[in-house]
Amino acid sequence: MADFVALFLTDLVLGLLLGCVLAVIAHGLNIIWGVAKVVNVAHGEFIMLGAYGAYFLYLYGGFNPLLSVPIDAAIGLVVGMGFYFGFLYRELRGKESMGLQSELVTLVSTFGLSLVIVNIAQSIWEHPVGILWSPGAAQVGPVPVPFGGLYVAVVSVALIALTDLFLTRTYLGNAIRAYTQDIPATQLMGINPTVVAAVGIGMGFSVTMAGGALLTVWLPTGIDPTKIGILYAPISFVIVVLGGPGKMWGSLVGGLTIGLIINVGQLFLGGSIALATAVAVLTLIPILLFRPEGILR
């Protein structure tokens, strides 16, 4: 019994820490979804690029993943604006909301983009690479708390809080929120919708790539182009739906839910990570059926 309690507490702590980093990688998608009402199917590939950003900063500059967060975020801002003009501008221009046809276009075109990125990455980087950054662990009773995961969790929550503050407390943030609610009214107020949308999408990519850098702490040995997108894109989709698209704190709620189901759930599923992951991603279905607006009201 004592063994079980110790295991349970360990999984609880690790699940919460993992949940925080899952939250921040999904958060970028959440912002894009909230601002432009589109889903970026290539989301996982931008997480991967963020992870590689952190890897090269580590390799050539000796940066640890936390230090590479602001640099990755700045790169993400530029990449995101480029993405907006390349993939969304034509579909969003002069429209109040995304029609189903436009939704289909963005789904399929960003899917094509993901194929391009992942396959170029695979042909350039054949071996999985890793960042050797291990700041140690503290033993709290029976529970090992890895410092790396702890720092990452703090930065993740701070990033989510920052985006929330930006959207509610700044002029540009309010303009973005106005844009998401009523585009013609935004224009009447003298705000250029193109600029606002570009900044909003840029912010989404900024958080996504920063999240990729933070994720490297949880992938101490493997930034593998063939696996990151496939694993983390669907999990990000599920987290955003769980929390509610466009709700900033929804990312954290969704992330923690998934982190806990994967880590604590395996205890009750015979130690099988496979089954716990299956259960975690399938929570999407009942949420969509019974609470389509997400867990948060």
């Binding site: 075109s109 993901s114 194929l115 396959n119 669907p234 089954l275 299956a278």
Partner: protein, 314 residues
């Protein structure tokens, strides 16, 4: 009631049937190199037609179609490996299990529109993979190796029959009365409901057909591979190839999936020796360009810009 005559069938269907007919007639005399190439082309065409039923005809984008292909493969492997059935019976078993699974999943996920359906389809495929890893009867992570021989003629006629039925059903849907209701779902689902189209039932039927044929094609694919291994069988790449084929060929059309399969599969064989590794980069660029600028694919674009072809291809 329209009388069925060659003229009323239209040149596209006649063209496809002639193409399949010629293949069937010369299959036995083809050099094996060409025959194996044709078998794989037909398997990919069958997969393209299967995703065309749901994504092409209704606009519901499925990112998880590999699930049905893999289930078809596992049905075959279980039928042949454990039950000791003939592989053709195994293919049928896989197809039926896929059909049942598609009915069950579709009954839930087809309630979700647009991106929500796309995500739900991807998530069910992912969950399917993780569950199979723990099912020891299906070999778990180890997979299943089959004691089957090299039987290209049997593979050819099995996939030929599957594809012919699929083309027939596609024609029936795009030209029959059922088709009006289905096309109205793609145009505007809510409006379709108000004029009395049973949108939910129609979508479910299409999804089930889609699952059935993806399963059947998957069965033949793994019969040919004489075994199935979970990490490869659930690879997202298959979902992506299927989607890319109908995007490139033309969604919801009768000829598009075949064009898409030819364009994607035959060109992919080039990349085995030339420009190794760039296959999906080029397919990806094609998909982006077509989605953004030519959303109707090859077939739709030809119809749009070349009026003379409108009567010929559909």
């Amino acid at each position: 009631m329209r009388r069925l005559s060659l003229r009323t069938l239209g040149p596209t269907l006649l063209g496809i049937l002639a193409f399949l007919g010629v293949l069937a007639a010369i299959a036995g005399r083809m050099p094996l190199v060409l025959l194996t190439l044709v078998i794989n082309l037909l398997i990919f065409a069958a997969l393209a037609y299967s995703i065309n039923f749901i994504t092409g005809l209704t606009g519901y984008v499925s990112f998880g179609h590999v699930l049905f292909m893999a289930v078809g493969g596992y049905g075959l492997a279980y039928g042949v490996g454990t039950l000791h059935w003939h592989p053709v019976a195994g293919v049928a078993l896989g197809a039926l299990v896929s059909l049942a699974l598609a009915l069950g999943i579709g009954a839930v996920t087809l309630r979700f529109r647009g991106v929500y359906f796309a995500i739900a389809s991807q998530v069910t495929a992912l969950a399917g993979f993780y569950i199979v890893l723990e099912v020891q009867e299906l070999g778990g992570g180890q997979g299943i190796v089959l004691n089957v021989g090299f039987e290209p003629i049997a593979w050819f006629y099995t996939i030929w029959v599957i594809l012919a039925i699929e083309v027939g059903i596609t024609y029936w849907i795009t030209h029959g009365r059922l088709g009006y209701g289905i096309r109205s779902i793609r145009a505007d689902e809510d409006a379709a409901k108000t004029v009395g189209v049973h949108a939910a039932a129609l979508k479910l039927v299409l999804f089930a057909i889609s699952g059935l044929f993806a399963g059947a094609a998957g069965g033949v694919y793994y019969w040919q591979g004489s075994g199935i291994f979970p990490n490869e069988a659930f690879s997202l790449t298959f979902s992506l190839i299927m989607l890319a084929m109908i995007v490139i060929g033309g969604m919801g059309t009768l000829l598009g999936p075949l064009f898409g399969a030819v364009a994607v599969y035959l060109s992919s064989q080039y990349f085995l020796t030339v420009l190794i590794g760039f296959e999906f980069v080029i397919i990806g660029v094609l998909v982006v360009v077509i989605a953004l600028f030519l959303p109707e694919g090859i077939v739709g674009t030809l119809r749009k810009y070349v009026p003379e072809l409108r009567g010929l291809i559909e």
